[in-house]
Amino acid sequence: MIEVDRVEKRYGDRLAVESASFSIRQRETFVLLGRSGSGKTTALKMLNRLVEPTSGIIRIFGDPITARPAEELRRSIGYAIQDVGLFPHYTVRENVAVVPKLLGWDERRIRARVDELLEHFGLPPDRYANARPRELSGGQQQRVGLARALAADPPLVLLDEPFSALDPITRREVQREFFRLAENLDKTFVLVTHDVAEAVAFGDRICLFEAGRIEQMGTPRELVLEPRNDFVRSFFDTGRLELELRVVSLAELAPYLARAPRLEATDVVEFSATASLHDVLEHPLIAAGRALSVRGEDGRILAIARAAALLDAFYARRRVEPGG
């Protein structure tokens, strides 16, 4: 869907992004990961031309993004940022309605769309639509910011660290809510973050930037378990155990399951083989001691086990597989 071809951004002597090439597929969540100053935000802003590349070309659906006016391009792309940037003199409704208005939607359509989005983000319109941004909490403001990014139903949404400024508890709430909603939206997301856990949890693919260069690009599993160099490895070292729990699928663990006592296939929680151990451990019924069954893509039950046995299998695999 998006082709970034040898794109560079130079500020005077400093090279913010050095000959970056990557492509983003439709309906995936593509993460630009890196420390501050690594070039990830510059890379994102080149996609909606808030930053113009010094050289290289970017295509969306095959057309160079420079083919039409920048404003027109931006109206077709959702955009949410860390500091939210709600317009303080607008109500919540007016804030969400900005892009539809710019696109000339009629009033009734805008109204219905805003109501729908506010409802989705847990901000009942009758209570919040006429509030001013300053009357909202930080989490509520960012929800409005995200609703605003989705308002005109753009196929592509750029997210510049939208969760980073929130406190940890609110952050998890807003993240989950957003990606649960996003899953059903048939949209492409490009997410900039410095938070490794966020990248691994929500990204379909991750592109790791350092000093303006792409160090590695691939699935979370590839970056966590098959780092191309020491930098990538060390980048994912903090909280490695949790990251691995997230990227290792149940299908991979099946061979390492000990011959456990046979369990009845009744009264178990069923997971797909592509689920991660992290998904399993977070499930409330598993946490309460219930066993689980793993159903393969072909519909066969691969295993029935308790969480403890899966953890044993995880450690057994870790001793022999790469990245362990």
């Binding site: 808030l50 404003e71 931006r74 109206r75 940022i81 500091d83 940037g85 892009v99 710019l102």
Partner: protein, 520 residues
């Protein structure tokens, strides 16, 4: 208070005219400044480098003293409302432009980025986001400019632009507190009123500010243009006069009655009357017979052939308390008695005003030539005697001479407080003991301070300079405990002065001939 209310009753129509002139001056200048400053400020937020230069330039204009700025403008704009509006406009521009830039630039960067990221054009970001958010700051700038403009507009009185400053400056020259208040209180009220109106507008968002302001500016300017009585009209003989001359009992009304003179007085600052004359903005002026400009510009003094202007002496006016404490002062200052004749004084004035010689040097050279060589200066911040003066060349010179003489012929130390703004300020300073002595004119003492009225046939009570001196000396001692020391010699009288450039008036030598020429 009752003096004020009776003054207002007596001058009601004139006061209303001045108030409306003041309002028009202020509103026209402000509306122009806002109508131009607002778009300029907005444009400059998009051209940051230029903004620094423009703000710097506007800041420099702001530091030019108002009267000096008016002086610069007169050669280009003439006198009347035009230079006043232009000067007010220039003063009002800085706060408006600066606040516009500051207001727009204080929009949080996240808000600007979001606005651009949503796909707003630069104009939409400006109009829908930055401008509404900057509105309170911009309004604060306009309100600051308003208060400044109402105050500065009083100076319009000194360039023939009218307004409430007319009473203020006449009052200062004539030591008339009631008259000062009659100008100052409405000015303050006007300032509060305009500020309140702007406050109202500010609370109503969505007011189409720029068009409204432009309309106000156009209406005001049209008003200014129509009211010919407001600015100097062409084809009519204009006489430039100091504000006080209009109101003095020995002033304009009597002059025009005595000679049957049909002309229009234009009130100007004393420092500007000659400039206006030389620049052909007025046709004649009323000046002092000892003014240095007469010689410097080659002007002609018309003879007062019907003896309207009484001759007045200049003399040191001293606090009697100071004389009692330091009796030696009397001898020291009396040495100047009758040492300065009119020609000498005019020559000394010209050296200071037009040959840019230092006051101290001119004073010292004169004293040396007069056989009164001054000793070394012993001046300092704490002094036994404080010498004051009004703000023009002759007064600076006389104060310097007084100081030299006191230091040379007494053991006292002296501090100078020169350039005090007019009769009222000098006299009050003397009465309060802030100064001990300053040069004053017996005519001013008689009419401005004692307030003597002309007798019924329009003549002064005393035609004789010595008689006026004796009268004033007696009355000041009795009423104010002040003493007039012996006169310096020159008789300083008002005079009708014209250009000597061979125009229609080239053969006019006397005030009667002028009146006859104008009647034709």
């Amino acid at each position: 208070m009752s003096a004020l209310s009776s003054f207002i009753r007596g001058h009601g129509r004139e006061l209303v005219a001045q108030l409306s002139q003041h309002l028009v001056l202020t509103v026209a200048a402000l509306a122009l400044a806002a109508a131009l400053g607002l778009p300029l400020g907005l444009w400059l937020t998009r051209n940051r480098r230029l903004a620094t230069a423009v703000l710097g330039g506007a800041g420099v204009i702001q530091t030019i003293p108002s009267l000096a700025l008016l002086g610069f403008l007169i050669p280009f704009t003439g006198i009347g409302a035009a230079p006043a509006i232009l000067a007010l406009f220039l003063y009002a521009l800085l706060p408006i432009v600066r606040n516009t830039i500051v207001g727009v630039e204080s929009t949080p960067s996240a808000v600007k980025e979001a606005a651009a990221g949503m796909g707003m054009t630069d104009l939409q970001v400006l109009g829908r986001v930055e401008l509404p958010l900057a509105a309170p700051v911009i309004f604060a700038g306009i309100r600051t400019a308003t208060v400044v403009a109402v105050g500065v507009a009083t100076l319009a009185a000194l360039v023939g632009g009218g307004g409430l400053g007319v009473y203020i400056f006449r009052g200062i020259s004539l030591a008339n507190t009631t008259m000062i208040l009659a100008g100052a209180i409405p000015a303050a009220g006007l300032s509060l009123l305009l500020d309140a109106i702007l406050g109202r507008i500010e609370r109503r968002p969505g007011a189409p500010l720029v068009p409204v302001l432009l309309l106000a500016a156009l209406l005001s300017l049209a008003f200014v243009g129509r009211r010919t009585a407001f600015g100097p009209s062409e084809g009519r003989f204009r006489i430039g006069v100091q504000p006080e001359f209009v109101e003095r009992p020995d002033g304009y009304a009597g002059l025009s009655a005595r000679y049957g003179l049909r002309a229009r007085p234009v009130e100007l600052d004393h420092g500007l009357v000659y400039l206006a004359l030389v620049e052909h903005r007025v046709d004649a002026v009323i000046g002092y017979s000892t003014d240095g400009e007469i010689a410097a510009f080659g002007l002609r003094v018309l003879a007062d052939d019907r003896h309207y202007f009484p001759p007045y002496f200049a003399a040191p006016l001293v606090r009697s308390a100071t004389l009692r404490a330091h009796p030696e002062l009397r001898r020291a200052l009396s040495q100047l008695s009758f040492r300065l004749d009119e020609k000498t004084m005019a020559r000394l004035n010209a050296r200071v005003e037009h040959e840019a010689e230092a006051v101290a040097r001119v004073a010292e050279e004169f004293l040396r030539a007069a056989g009164l060589p001054p000793g070394p200066h012993r001046r300092g911040p704490s002094a036994d005697v404080v010498v004051g003066s009004k703000p023009f060349a002759e007064q600076y010179l006389l104060a310097e001479m007084f100081a030299d003489l006191i230091e040379t012929y007494t053991g006292l130390s002296v501090r100078l407080e020169t350039g005090l703004g007019g009769t009222k300020i000098c006299f009050e300073a003397l009465a309060k003991g802030a100064i001990d002595v300053y040069p004053e004119y017996t005519g001013t003492g008689l009419y401005a301070i004692l307030g003597a009225a002309l007798d019924h046939d329009g003549t002064a009570p005393a035609r004789d300079a010595q008689a006026v001196y004796d009268h004033v000396k007696r009355e000041f001692a009795r009423r104010f405990d002040m003493e007039w020391l012996p006169p310096l010699g020159f008789a300083n009288t008002y005079a009708v002065i014209v250009r000597n450039d061979g125009g229609e008036l080239s053969r006019v030598r006397t005030a009667s001939e002028l009146s006859a020429a104008l009647a034709e």
